[in-house]
């Protein structure tokens, strides 16, 4: 885990602690934190600030029955929320995004595969499988895109990203991520923009034709 060099920016962690990140990003952040001790501790620090704010918030009297109501429910049966365990390369939050199933890869061409875990107007979460030495498709973005490496590694103009590393790319970043030689690269990609369902090849040609 000490090999992780690309972390979550502080502001994004604060927004995550406060619950104000788009859902797709929250999946990526929770997944990175599951793999990264440094960001876990940083998140705990933000929770401590949140706790200080809570401690300092003006108290508002609760109704007289609330305490007894709650005490009366302490022994009531309840259904615990399901806990998704890490499975191989997939951390718990990714398993949760997959509802506990295995990836369902769809071919995109040139050996690249993807599995869209969720997609709507507020963003998307998907898994990408990139064969060694293959370029990562769809690398121009509408909005912000977070890419978390789960297996293998990729490199682009900004550096090398190995397991646990998180790349944050906005629409201004022009880069060509390429999977490194060796193992296929599997990533979780989260964006806050609507996913454009286009075939891989036209997307790769876009920069050439300035579509």
């Amino acid at each position: 885990m000490s090999a992780i060099t690309h972390h979550i920016p502080d502001a994004m962690l604060a927004a995550y602690a406060a619950g104000n990140l788009p859902h797709a990003f929250a999946v990526a952040v929770a997944s990175h934190v599951s793999l990264c001790a440094e960001c876990r501790v940083a998140l705990e620090a933000h929770q401590a600030v949140g706790g200080a704010v809570l401690e300092d918030t003006g108290a508002v009297a609760v109704s007289s029955s609330l305490k007894d109501n709650i005490l009366a429910q302490l022994d009531a049966p309840f259904t615990p929320e399901p806990v998704y365990e890490r499975n191989g390369i997939f951390p718990g939050p990714v398993m949760e995004a997959m509802n506990g199933r295995a990836p369902r890869w769809k071919k995109l061409g040139m050996g690249v595969r993807q599995d869209i875990l969720s997609a709507d107007a507020n963003g998307s979460v998907r898994l990408l499988y990139i064969p060694p030495r293959q370029a990562v498709p769809d690398h121009s973005h509408n909005g912000l895109e977070l890419t978390l490496v789960l297996q293998g590694s990729f490199s682009d103009e900004t550096g090398r990203f190995g397991v646990g590393d998180l790349e944050i790319a906005d629409e201004n970043l022009e880069h060509t991520p390429v999977a490194d030689p060796g193992e296929a690269c599997i990533c979780l990609a989260a964006t806050d923009a609507r996913l454009r369902f286009r075939a891989l090849v036209p997307r790769l040609l876009q920069p050439l034709f300035r579509i």
């Binding site: 859902h23 933000h46 401590a48 809570l54 401690e55 305490k67």
Partner: protein, 197 residues
């Protein structure tokens, strides 16, 4: 989860008296399912939670429903409370925000994997105390902020600012956070040393 009850209760350590009431109550709830301690936690936190939740836009009635959910979660998930890594207020803050978000978005908020502790791991009173002292320093740091800076911090942690808006702010007490991060890292490295990854 049950393995948490197997460890030495923190109250047997010599620094017992230096820990805050809230931490004592929470540990008593966790280790002994102590209802009086839970009632004391309620008396301290329920009115603050209600104020906090109303500040984030809920009605008084909705706020009380959420307070009820949060207090029951504290009771049911007490085994997950680790005073080496979080002060009680921080732990409750996260439970409260999660509950508010789950209700607002009607979906479960993605959460990191929980760390599983070594069974029978001895409590480290000096670390628990250090976490508490950090919390005190954090409170002081907040108190010394200019009112407008303080409002930004409150807004950020009430979930009223986007991450872009937060990163545009310079008034956040990041120095304090940094020392809190160092403290936490030391403990986590210690905890993870023997864990199989």
């Amino acid at each position: 989860m049950a393995r948490r009850y197997e460890r030495t209760p923190v109250s047997q350590t010599e620094t017992e008296t230096e820990l805050s009431e809230q931490t004592h109550w929470m540990i008593a709830v966790r280790d002994n399912r102590d209802r009086n301690a839970f009632a004391a936690l309620f008396d301290h936190f329920a009115p603050r939670l209600k104020g906090f939740i109303i500040r984030s836009g809920a009605s008084a009635h909705q706020a009380e429903e959420i307070v009820q959910d949060v207090m029951l979660t504290i009771w049911r998930k007490a085994a997950m409370f680790d005073p080496h890594r979080a002060q009680v207020s921080a732990w409750i803050y996260q439970i409260a925000r999660n509950r508010q978000i789950d209700i607002a978005r009607k979906e479960n908020r993605p959460m990191p994997e929980e760390l599983k502790e070594e069974p029978g791991m001895e409590p480290d009173a000096s670390q628990i105390l250090a976490i508490e002292q950090e919390a005190g320093q954090l409170k002081q740091a907040l108190a010394t902020l200019k009112p407008e800076q303080r409002e930004i911090v409150e807004k950020a942690y009430l979930g009223e600012l986007t991450h872009q808006e937060i990163s545009a702010q310079t008034g956040l007490p990041l120095g304090t956070i940094k020392s809190r991060i160092r403290l936490g890292l030391e403990r986590l490295r210690h905890e993870l040393k023997d864990l199989k990854q």
